[in-house]
Amino acid sequence: MLEQWLNSDAVFLTVALLASTLRMATPLGLAALGAVYSERAGVINLGLEGLMLGGAFFGILGSYLTGNAWLGVLLAALAGGIMALLFALVTLRYKANHVVAGVALNLLGLGFTTVLLVAVWGNRGKSPDVAGIYPIYIPYLSDLPIVGELIFRQSPFFYLLIILMILSWLFFYRTKWGLRLRAIGENPAAVDSLGIPVFTYKYLAVIAGGMLAALGGAYLSLGELSMFARNMVSGRGYIALAANILGNWNPIGVVLASFLFGLANAIEMNLQLYGWPTQFVQMIPYVVTMFVLGGFVRKVQAPKALGQHFDRSNTNM
């Protein structure tokens, strides 16, 4: 009886649907987490797309050079951090408008990865295949019906996402550094007046955000395809930003939001197979978002000082 039910098409298809949901959500989730860090520190991060692309590229490069995919992941995070540091310098030190700097970062990301793609492999389209990072089966657990297949046979990046989500939540709501970061996003002058090095926090947060976004990109390249293809992030950066808002700048919220996007995507891809007009089916994820946001998530509250430049001697207090 149960046996029968477990093997029924319905169950099978649902499991498959949820499995692809998780796969589609993972990169979004990682990048959205990244957004939480930098935006909680008051820095709008429209550059996610570029950061993810950078991560995707250097992940592959690292694996290609060392033959070890995990070193690739490391390099990706490193590269993301460095790109983010540039972004931080331009926005924090040199007071560029965050949005514009983000746009520039995306241009730079696309330009540089392609140039390097050509420089390293003499090919403008894709890198050769490299050692990737493949799903791991967690012993015993992965044999459980349904959940086993669904949750315990995922890419390490998925587990990483869940762990980082929990750690991030602890960080923001249970540690003093998190508390200070949240405060900085709301009112840097107040935090500064308590002798806390506001800019250090901002820099570190933006860099951490860059590294996370890069991991999201690395999942796409190392975790999904074991290769890099030009502009392969194709807009996920912006969706991740939306997820970050939809999740109300809360680590758990944004990951859930990412799962929502993932689910909508998976549904969309399945529905296409029923031969409905593609364009309309492809609208589903976006319509769902609008519905969810317009319908349920009434009060999303951005950090008050988001996008503002802080200058101690020039705040009226």
């Binding site: 508390l179 009112n187 107040a190 001697s313 207090m317």
Partner: protein, 505 residues
Amino acid sequence: MEALEALRMNKIVKSFGSLKALDQVDLTVAKGEIHCLLGENGAGKTTLMKILYGIHQQDEGEIYLNAKKVKISSPKEAITQGISMVFQHFMLIPNLSVMENIILGQEETKMGILADKESRNKVANLSEKLGLKVRLDMLVEDIPVGEKQRVEIIKALYRGAEIIILDEPTAVLTPQEVSELFKVLKTLKEDGKTIIIITHKLKETLAVADKVTVLRNGKNQGSITTDKATPEILAQMMVGRNVMLEVVKGKVEKGPVIFETKGLNLKDKLKNINLKIHAGEIVGIAGVEGNGQTELLETLIGLCSPTSGSIIFDQKDITKDSVEERLDQGLGFIPEDRNDRGLVNNFKLWQNAILGYQKRYEKKGLLDFAAITKASETIVKNYQVKVLGIDSKSSSLSGGNAQKLLVGRVFYHNPRVLIIAHPTRGVDVGAIEYLHKEILSMRSQGKAILLVSADLDEIRQLSDRIAVIYEGAITIEGDGGDFTEDELGLYMAGGLRPESKVVKA
């Protein structure tokens, strides 16, 4: 014998661009002394203290702590030097809890994780010891200003400072809260702490301070010990002329009722509010911040609509009217926080001078700049707004002048009913004298005036009738002369229940 000095600031000079905010200012404060800084708006008090706290760097001059020369280039250094400061504008994070706001920067942790209990005890002890009641788990955005101010003070003391700077801490407090605060300051003084306090209220100064230093236009006007000082002398030193500290209130025949509320209710915020305001009458609403004043004001002006009851203006029911319609009919409103609802900072002065009346300066859909210029200049002239020109940003106005602009804007466009909230908050004596005169002249022109203020002197000096608001209800109402300051304070603290309501004919 001379007490040893805790702080000496020597020939401090500070300019902002072309403007010389501080010019060769000296300040010496003895250990265990409560020292008061006085001065008009824009005199340089805050700037001097911001220099001491490491927010600004002086262009010239030195700072000595305990006779040791120090360089303070950031708040962090100030804190390590044992200085802490309560700013004149709240420096709190609204969506964090009171607790979090207090411990921020000095959190107790166990291996990185916030140790809630430890901090809690520490804070609890502190507020216990000083009798400063705060609700640790409330979000700051949900607590009244008085409590916010207490949080700020606990915040400062939590850092175990030796020198404590308070920039206009009393501006938003009620007499009870003020005297509580002063008790606290005295206890601290007993513990040998040094306190520098900035205020515009001379009585308070004399009540709490040992010594006073006065600034005018960034220059030091000298110091005086409070035993030798009187309000008149201090005012003289500040403004450089004699100031009428007590307004003389002429008799005015009151006309018919032109503004009236009938049984106003707003959820659980306002309970059955009945007010009658006659022409040529000032009705003062006294009350501790957060007892429904804000809601009352917003209901009267039309920013939110009452759950029941009605508002009558000239026999006409305006309960359903929009803000715009009410302004058109001659309702004038001076909001409680000039920077929040009053002015659009970093917009030009003339743009602020017509705000709310822009309709009247429209010619065929276009702004009539000739008229606007004329109006703005008149306002600046008639209401003595100190400013370079009508094209300069309103954010560069000091509080006193900002307030004058606000009042001028409303008065100039001759309203018939005036709703005025905290007209002199954070404003210097000169300006207060002036603003009170203007309000009274409105009265003698037969306007109906509703005055909401936490400043009892103001209420008592200006009002013909006084109503006390407590927990959203008018608990008692009577003629201005009926109440002594202490009675009022008592009622405001909820001392009397609604049923025992005495109304004099």
